[in-house]
Amino acid sequence: MNISVLYAAIIYSSMLGLMSFGVTFVKITSNVWNVAHTSFITFAAYIVFTFESFYGNSPYLYLPLGFIIGAFLAIIEYLLIIDPLRKRGSSSLLMLVSTIAFLLIVDGIIDIYSDYLQNIYKFPSKNFILSYLDFNFLGFNGIFLFSFTFLIIILILLYLILTYTKFGIALRASVDDPILASVTGINIKYVNIFAWFIAGGTAGIAGALLPMWTQCFPGVGDTFLAIIFSVSIVGGVQQIYGTFLGSFLIGFIQIFGILGLSIIFGSSILVYQYLIPMIIMILVLLFLPEGLGKINFRKIIINIKKRRQKK
């Protein structure tokens, strides 16, 4: 196995996971597909670019700012748009449309901002990449270390919060049955705010890392929209951890799959690699509509053990 391909696959999957987690989390807790999520990613990328352009230093320094801006935008969206609409009993489809409206607003602001940076300060804000500022530690790139580490950190933190804290259990209860949860004394609004905070924050982290990984431009986050939804659907929206599975599955199949295909069909096929997530999504929808997260791995392992014992 080619190490550099594995390396690229891990970075890609980690970035996908960081980008997609928030979408799934919000869907699970608030029952809304937040299309505006991708604009948070773009915004965070621009925040890092701004600070980098003015103050220099390693872009990784500004990661917390990315988290903050992502969380901030998400909470604004929830409080000003989603919550009022929910109180009016809007359908999940209408709320989806409202997130599109918010996407347009945030994207418009980013467009204006990048124009401003370009025209007034002459920063190359219409198209930039900061990977040249990356560092190397024991043979690993900063982006590899940060993306993978943050993914693991978020996964672990989430697990700890959801399993061992009262609030975490309350969140899972709200997902199970929001009405029962509220008559039990759980303030669903706070649960939702927390969910959007985390979702936006992770989008912010992904966005802050983005310039170290790929070319950035206004609307760069939106180019990942279809892939993010593919990851969410493949991972499934029943289980909170499904996205992480989905992102690695899609990431690895895409990178290794297209590599394998290029051996058969030549290198011209490489550009079509972004079709692979879509294809996987379609397959999953046809055969496993609830996604990967629903698969009861314990049951499978128990069944395998039973079969071995019979022999």
Partner: protein, 241 residues
């Protein structure tokens, strides 16, 4: 303790309850009975803030609780066990109890939960089990346990005996009387079938088509020939249904 006056409520524009007047005091078991679709569940849901109130008032210890969100109503001491979805299926039994005790003082947590085991010992054995794996009767017990953990002042149960064998049902009813006496709480039970709760009720309200058609003590109901005729099916323990 609880006083509902001239209450009109429903879901959005669908008017379900008309001019409801109900009371429940501490150390009292009140039963609300009536045929299917009469609005019994809506009444409980209205009290906990899950419906639209058109007019009237709900007073709890002389505080109007009309437009307070559900989670706040739980905080002031009203506990509600819905019909059907009354536990969290993907959480373990322990986690369910933990949520039942969401508003508890964290110091008292262990003590409180141990108290519950004295009433429902079987739950202790199932602590790690996922709630979806429990049988119907066990779920009911868990649901009731979750409500008791909150040490409510008013306990509202929507068809708590549904799907339970007569033995377990009797067991639970006895426990309810025990709790009423010990903890001095008020209990409102909604049941379709009066025969089950007749004995233990202090007062009964008969609800039909969203209106109260009878209120009084249990023996008064049986003596009222018209009521008995109209709602014969309910009184005979469902033999005619």
């Amino acid at each position: 303790m609880l006083a509902v006056s001239n209450l009109n409520s429903g879901y959005e524009k669908v008017h379900i309850l008309y001019d409801i007047n109900i009371q429940c005091n501490s150390s009292e078991i009140v039963s609300i009975i009536g045929p299917n679709g009469s609005g019994k569940t809506t009444l409980l849901k209205t009290i906990v803030g899950l419906t639209n109130i058109y007019s009237g008032s709900i007073l709890f210890n002389n505080i109007k609780i009309n437009n307070i969100p559900s989670y706040k109503i739980a905080k002031i001491g009203i506990s509600y066990l819905p019909q059907g979805n009354n536990i969290f299926p993907s959480l373990s039994v322990y986690e369910n109890l933990r949520i039942g005790c969401y508003l508890c003082n964290s110091k008292d947590l262990k003590e409180t939960i141990n108290e519950i085991f004295s009433i429902f010992p079987i739950l202790r054995e199932y602590l790690a089990k996922k709630a979806s794996m429990l049988s119907g009767g066990e779920r009911q017990m868990l649901g009731i346990a979750m409500n008791l953990l909150r040490k409510p002042k008013l306990l509202m149960l929507d068809e708590p005996l549904a799907g339970l064998s007569p033995l377990i049902a009797k067991n639970i009813l006895n426990k309810l009387v025990e709790i009423k006496d010990k903890l001095k709480i008020g209990i409102i039970i909604v049941e379709q079938n009066i025969s089950k709760v007749l004995e233990i009720s202090d007062r009964i309200y008969l609800l039909a088509s969203g209106k109260i058609v009878f209120s009084g003590k249990n023996n008064e109901l049986l003596e009222n020939k018209d009521m008995v005729k109209l709602y014969m099916g309910l009184l005979s323990g469902g033999k005619n249904q």
